[in-house]
Amino acid sequence: MEIYRSHVLVCGGTGCTSSGSSKIIETMEQMLVEKELEREIKVIRTGCFGLCEAGPIVIVYPEGTFYSHVKVEDVGEIVEEHLLKGRIVRRLVYKGALTDESAQVPLKDIPFYQHQHRIALRNCGVIDPENIDEAIATDAYQALAKCVTEMTPEEVIEVISQSGLRGRGGGGFSTGIKWKFAASSKSDKKYVICNADEGDPGAFMDRSILEGDPHTVLEAMAICGYCIGSDEGYVYVRAEYPIAVERLEKAISQARAYGLLGDNILGTDFSFNIHVRLGAGAFVCGEETALMASIEGHRGEPKPRPPFPAVRGLFDKPTNINNVETYANIPPIILNGVDWFRSLGTEKSSGTKVFALGGKINNTGLVEVEMGTPLRTVIYDIGGGIPKGKQLKAVQTGGPSGGCIPVDLLDVPIEYDSLIELGSMMGSGGMIVMDEDNCMVDIARFFLDFTVEESCGKCTPCRIGTRRMLEILDRIVEGKGKEDDIEKLERLARVIKETSLCGLGQTAPNPVLSTLHYFRDEYEAHIYDRTCPAHHCRSLTKLQITDDCRGCTACARVCPVDAISGEVRQKHVIDMDKCTKCYSCIEKCRFDAIIKV
């Protein structure tokens, strides 16, 4: 690797790639050759920087200039002005990255990054994920080397237990105890699995870690193999993540070439191999027993536990299964020690958690914060608040298994136990922000619709119970709710939670229960008053023309069903019997004279 005077980091995560970052890299490399700069400046495709909202992102070192929303047409200006002449292209710099005096703000001091603490994402956006040397430079495989040459498996497990690391996939079970169970099972063969079947709508942290720093996951799986006495591992990743799969496979072959995977790792007796298995995108396959069935080539259906995977798992052998983000925490814990990790987060939830911010929020993207950080910090300081000056209403965490946290509980610290107390859960870390325009009944309906689709159908409560609940919700949002619908929903929810076979069914009613708990009045308004307080549900929303109408006739002309009538320069009226609620008139009106009631 030659010395270059400048490194240009271009985000190659899925978000930025879909908005054209590959083309940016291609164009830039071509222009560098044209300007004879290719020996001075190196272009590097990194993993996700987290600020997906501002993508495609380009960062130029050594200056650390943070360009956002870069288009292919802008590449010429960056090369000509910045890389050749050393003049920063100010119009392309991210708005928080220049002070009023036009001095540059270091990346870590930009509000979006300032409140973050990146452990699992530490190398995403820093290294070239397809270059194992760069991973090694940022300490990849140092922890594995330390484990296999200086520590016994028991000592390593003790460190993980003491650190207080809990499963980042949602369950929050102690990782150390899990490893101890698998280690204590006697067998001629054991397996290590990485669960990368990320299925929650809106969550993409596992994908970003695999795309930005695949070696950390491989290293941690090998460490786990060393601890529990396994020589073979599987990464179960969904086929919808092509970039992650490609980088994972490259990383595995590079690690094999260096002998960091394979036989006699680092000259010791320890051998470990990793295979990749692609999932077809079924949500239920994120459940560990269904996932293992899928690896074995069976239908992705769960099995009752016990026996737990640690006793009888993949191919009926003892198996340890952890989530991607959990694994990404292992090497730093080994290298930095228990005290360091425990100093982060809260007493019962140590370390950090990655959240995928989505919905009605300015900085859509991936953030990693210490456990115990209040939701308010995540939404306002990091997330940049709610767009268009709207009011925050609630935050949904935990995806289809989680629940909603209303705005008045925004100062509760985020950790496993506090979220469960609020009737939600950590889940894998999806965080969907909702504003005043979101109808909470419809949100619950949306998530339940997802679980109905994704139920594998093996057990009755989940297969039929969730569908009955969905039917009730469907009629409520259509304005056909019945008197005892709320009670019916509650009864069904309780039965489904208590009797479903796996986590999917056991948690499926959560979105309904938590919205019923915090927003019962909205359900009641739908059922008894036949109104939707957020004016979201079309069947329950009426349009009205106010006195602001100037009679310009624009609405009448755009209406596809001729439901609006009125004389020129006179107030118009809408015939709600004809209106199909396409809302084109609202968009057309220049005087904001048409309102939803």
């Binding site: 001075e40 002449k85 990346l107 040397d133 760069e134 680092l266």
Partner: protein, 126 residues
């Protein structure tokens, strides 16, 4: 197959190459070449190249080579500053690739500015 020692060698070697991306630990010596239109016209590109080749040759991974715009003394171009952390910049003027080689050897490597090429010396001689 790698040994633990070889792993450490790769780590150190690559770390030096990517040091510039770690903002916190930047203790680099900076070489700033004037690359405005005047600088480029006076031959700043070969000067930039010479700094890079020389640093590559000597494996000087702690040196950052960057550019800047016009500082207003166009007739003294090509110009470059050499800046040690915590010290005042030393400004060199009317550079040639030969001068660059001496500056890298004497100043960047050994910390002794090449006085006769600095702006102070050139102005005094006129």
């Amino acid at each position: 197959m790698l040994t633990k020692e070889q792993l450490e060698v790769i780590r150190q070697r690559t770390l030096e190459r990517i040091q510039m991306r770690k903002e916190d630990e930047n203790q680099a010596v900076r070489v700033v070449v004037g690359m405005a239109t005047c600088g480029i016209a006076a031959g700043a590109r070969p000067i930039m190249r010479a700094f890079m080749d020389e640093c590559n040759l000597r494996n000087l991974t702690h040196v950052q080579i960057t550019q800047t715009g016009c500082v207003g003394m166009c007739r003294y171009e090509p110009m470059a500053d050499v800046i040690f952390p915590g010290k005042d910049p030393v400004t060199y003027v009317q550079l040639t690739p030969e001068k660059v080689r001496r500056i890298v050897a004497e100043h960047v490597v050994n910390g002794q500015p090449v006085k006769e090429f600095t702006i102070g010396a050139v102005l005094n001689n006129q």
